[in-house]
């Protein structure tokens, strides 16, 4: 790509980065103002003192994610909200003072927290949630203290006001942060939302809404009973959601609970004192819900990570096995091509004879027919070798199934025999029909058998030995229950110095060998819970064996 184009793209990228930063700031600002407006219920001496400050939660999320400069957004939001939306009757220097103090308090708490504790953006750990809650509380206390001092100093408040206002202020700020910040942090971090998954959750969400609605109706709607006593009912949907869906479930159910509760309390005309009581209880519910949610999420995450790691390992092993298989077949390619050539030669000759017979009037048609029948058998034989070869080197994911042991061995024998025949080595299989089934990856187990036979054939052919013979024997053993498969040959044997590192990668005696075969065989057999070993290395009676256990607990 030309440098000029690169530069332009780079420029666009950065422009869009800046643009998106501004867009985010504006969005948060708008959200802040709207929430301030919506949660503006109680006033104390011209200042909004509702014990519920969701706008602050929005601003705090931005502070945690965007850094202390985002404090400016909070400041601007507060000034705009106080001046234009809420239109209180406090003079503007006090307004600006209050906004500046609040913005500074939370910006500095957020900065300190990010500096010394570093909250993970996706709130995946209990520690992160606890730090966030503590930061919210610390910010609320600091802010309340500073505001009280400021308002006392400017003569807006007296000591009585401070006592009356301090608790709702601390509770409202803390709960605003506890409910809204995790929600925003979680849902702005998500890279993508799966619509299908969300739709499938709809019935469950409706159930939670119903439960929350029911609990709230008991608590607020019931005039007779005292609502507070039934508050515990709200724990049910929140804890269920947290247990089922982790921290996300907790965040959403808490937000719904909080917003509905505030709405209901407001409509039912509860006063500021009762509001504060409810919010205190709700803070307990919020902390509980978040902690349950994050603990569940944490456990799920670690389970998923372990599963992923296991799947990745299997994938890696399958890739290595695939490479070794291609290598194995390419080592056999010339012999296999020769072996396919034989049936093709025979088939062509028989086809030609049949043609000649059919062209000659009065010739024996049954002879032509028998030629064609034999010809088809030869073509099928060639096709069989090709098909096995293709299946064998096809790239595939690890696939675990129940394997008929004898079938598997016979399949491996098709290719093994083809190669052996081209190299004038005799191969035979001794496997009883009643061998028990194995559990594992069929192609990989075939690979082990074929690899061992190939090595034996290779050793015999390289030694230019006539009357070479490879014998594959499979037996069922009872204790411990396993199938043992041995590959014996009458080749030149294994040199003593090689015995110790036979199964190490990159050990090879072949000029064009990679030294992958046996090490991959070992890793395949081990993945099946068994082992592979050199049973005897003597010339004339060399034997490799591997065992696969039968009672292996299923993985995955």
């Amino acid at each position: 790509m030309p440098a000029r184009v690169l530069q332009r793209e780079w420029l666009l990228l950065h422009l869009s980065e800046h643009a998106s930063k501004w867009a985010v700031a504006v969005l948060y600002l708008a959200a802040y103002i709207i929430l301030e407006w919506a949660s503006f219920i109680h006033v104390h001496k011209g200042l909004p003192i509702t014990p519920w400050d969701p706008g602050l939660g929005v601003a705090f999320a931005l502070l945690i994610r965007g850094g202390p400069l985002s404090g400016l957004v909070l400041f601007a939001g507060m000034v705009i909200a106080e001046t234009f939306v809420l239109q209180n009757d406090v003079d503007w220097p006090t307004d600006i003072g209050v906004a500046a103090i609040t913005a500074t308090s939370y910006a500095s708490v957020a900065a300190l927290v990010q500096r010394y504790f570093r909250i993970d953006a996706d709130l995946a750990h209990l520690r992160d949630v606890l730090v966030l809650l503590a930061a919210g509380l610390a910010g609320a206390v600091l802010n309340t203290a500073l505001l009280s001092a400021f308002l006392l100093a400017v003569g807006q408040f007296d000591i009585g006001d401070v006592v009356q206002v301090a608790r709702p202020l601390v509770i409202g700020d803390t709960i605003g942060i506890a409910v809204v910040t995790p929600l925003l942090v979680r849902f702005t971090v998500q890279k993508r939302l799966e619509i299908g998954r969300l739709l499938s959750l709809l019935p469950e969400a409706a159930l939670y809404l119903f439960l929350i609605g029911l609990a709230l109706w008991f608590i607020v709607g019931n005039e007779e009973a005292h609502g507070f006593r039934l508050f515990y009912l709200l724990f049910v949907p929140v804890v269920i959601a947290a247990v089922r869906h982790g921290v996300d479930g907790a965040c959403l159910s808490l937000a719904v609970t909080q917003f509905s509760l505030i709405g209901l309390l407001h409509l039912s005309g509860y006063d500021a004192g009762e509001f504060t009581e409810f919010q205190t209880l709700l803070l307990v519910l919020t902390v509980t819900g978040l902690i349950v949610g994050v603990v569940i999420s944490e456990r799920r995450n670690s389970d998923r990570i372990a599963l992923d790691a296991r799947a990745r390992l299997a994938e890696r092993r399958a890739e290595a096995a695939q490479v070794a298989r291609v290598n194995l077949v390419s080592g056999m390619a010339s012999a296999l091509a020769h072996e396919i050539n034989q049936p093709m030669t025979a088939a062509r000759a028989l086809g030609r004879s049949a043609q000649q017979l059919l062209r000659t009037p009065g010739s024996d048609l049954s002879r032509a027919e028998s030629n064609l029948t034999t010809m088809l058998a030869h073509i099928d034989h060639a096709g069989d070798i090709l098909r096995r070869m293709r299946n064998f080197i096809r790239r595939g994911h690890p696939y675990v199934s129940t394997i008929n042991t004898r079938d598997m061995l016979e399949e491996a024998m098709t290719l093994a025999q083809a190669e052996a025949s081209a190299r004038h080595v005799r191969v035979d299989l001794d496997a009883p029909a009643d061998l028990p089934d194995l559990h594992g990856d069929r192609v990989q187990l075939e690979q082990v058998v074929l690899n061992l036979v190939h090595n034996a054939v290779d050793a015999i052919a390289e030694a230019r030995q006539s009357h070479g013979h490879v014998h594959v024997v499979a037996r069922h053993h009872a204790a411990p229950p396993r199938v043992e498969i041995g590959v014996l040959d009458n080749g030149p044997g294994i040199e003593g110095e090689l015995v110790g590192r036979l199964f190490d990668p990159l050990t090879t005696t072949k000029q064009d060998g990679l030294g992958l075969g046996l090490s991959v065989c070992a890793s395949i057999v081990e993945a099946h819970g068994g082992r592979v070993w050199l049973h005897c290395g003597r010339p004339g009676a060399t034997e490799f064996r591997f065992s696969v256990p039968l009672d292996r607990p299923r993985e995955r």
């Binding site: 010339s334 020769h338 030669t345 025979a346 028989l350 004879s353 000649q356 034999t374």
Partner: protein, 204 residues
């Protein structure tokens, strides 16, 4: 004349049987052998024909077979076939004295053409061999005195010169000459000289 025979040697039973069937249908007489060693052990009779043999076989391979036949002085043309055909192998096959070299899977027209060429060579060879042995037979019937006259005539001596050399009359020499010409069935002195050359009595 006996029908020419194809001796087909391949260690793959399927190929052996199929080629034998095809050549049989095409009208040839075929005998099959599973290895060069089996063929060599069985082929004492000098039959007219040609050998079609695989190159790669256990034991004596195709090229080894051609060499072994040459060593034994058996002059049967050999057509080699191979599924592994490459240039070095083809070169080695032709150098060893094989008549032809054909790749598997085999094109029957190519094989039939090669077999026919081999037969033609075989027949030609047999003819010249037969003529040679006939000549040998005639020569063997000459008496020592007639052989003496044969050699001298072939060497270009006139009757007078021979008479002087052997100290006999010209008439006697002429009579011997007539006997020799008759026994050797030579129409002229030139024909006799050619016979002498073929018999190795004089340098060509």
């Amino acid at each position: 004349m006996a029908t020419p025979m194809i001796f087909l040697i391949d260690d793959h039973a399927s190929v052996r049987e199929a080629l034998s069937e095809m050549l049989g249908v095409l009208g040839y007489s075929v005998k099959t052998y599973e290895s060069a060693d089996v063929f060599l052990a069985a082929s004492d009779e000098r039959e007219l024909g040609c050998i079609v043999a695989d190159v790669r076989m256990p034991g004596t391979d195709g090229i080894g077979l051609v060499r072994e036949l040459a060593r034994r002085g058996i002059e049967v043309p050999v057509v080699l076939i191979s599924g592994h055909a490459d240039v070095p192998m083809a070169v080695a096959a032709i150098k060893s004295g094989a008549q032809d070299f054909i790749e598997k899977p085999i094109d029957d027209r190519q094989l039939v053409a090669a077999i026919n060429r081999a037969f033609a060579r075989s027949i030609e060879h047999l003819d010249s061999q037969r003529a040679k042995s006939e000549l040998d037979g005639r020569f063997a019937r000459l008496t020592p005195r007639q052989i003496e006259i044969f050699d001298l005539v072939a060497d270009g001596f006139t009757s007078q010169a021979i008479a002087a050399k052997l100290n006999i009359s010209v008439r006697t020499v002429d009579s011997y000459r007539a006997e020799v010409m008759e026994k050797m069935q030579a129409e002229s002195v030139a024909g006799l000289v050619r016979q002498a050359t073929r018999l190795g009595r004089i340098a060509p």
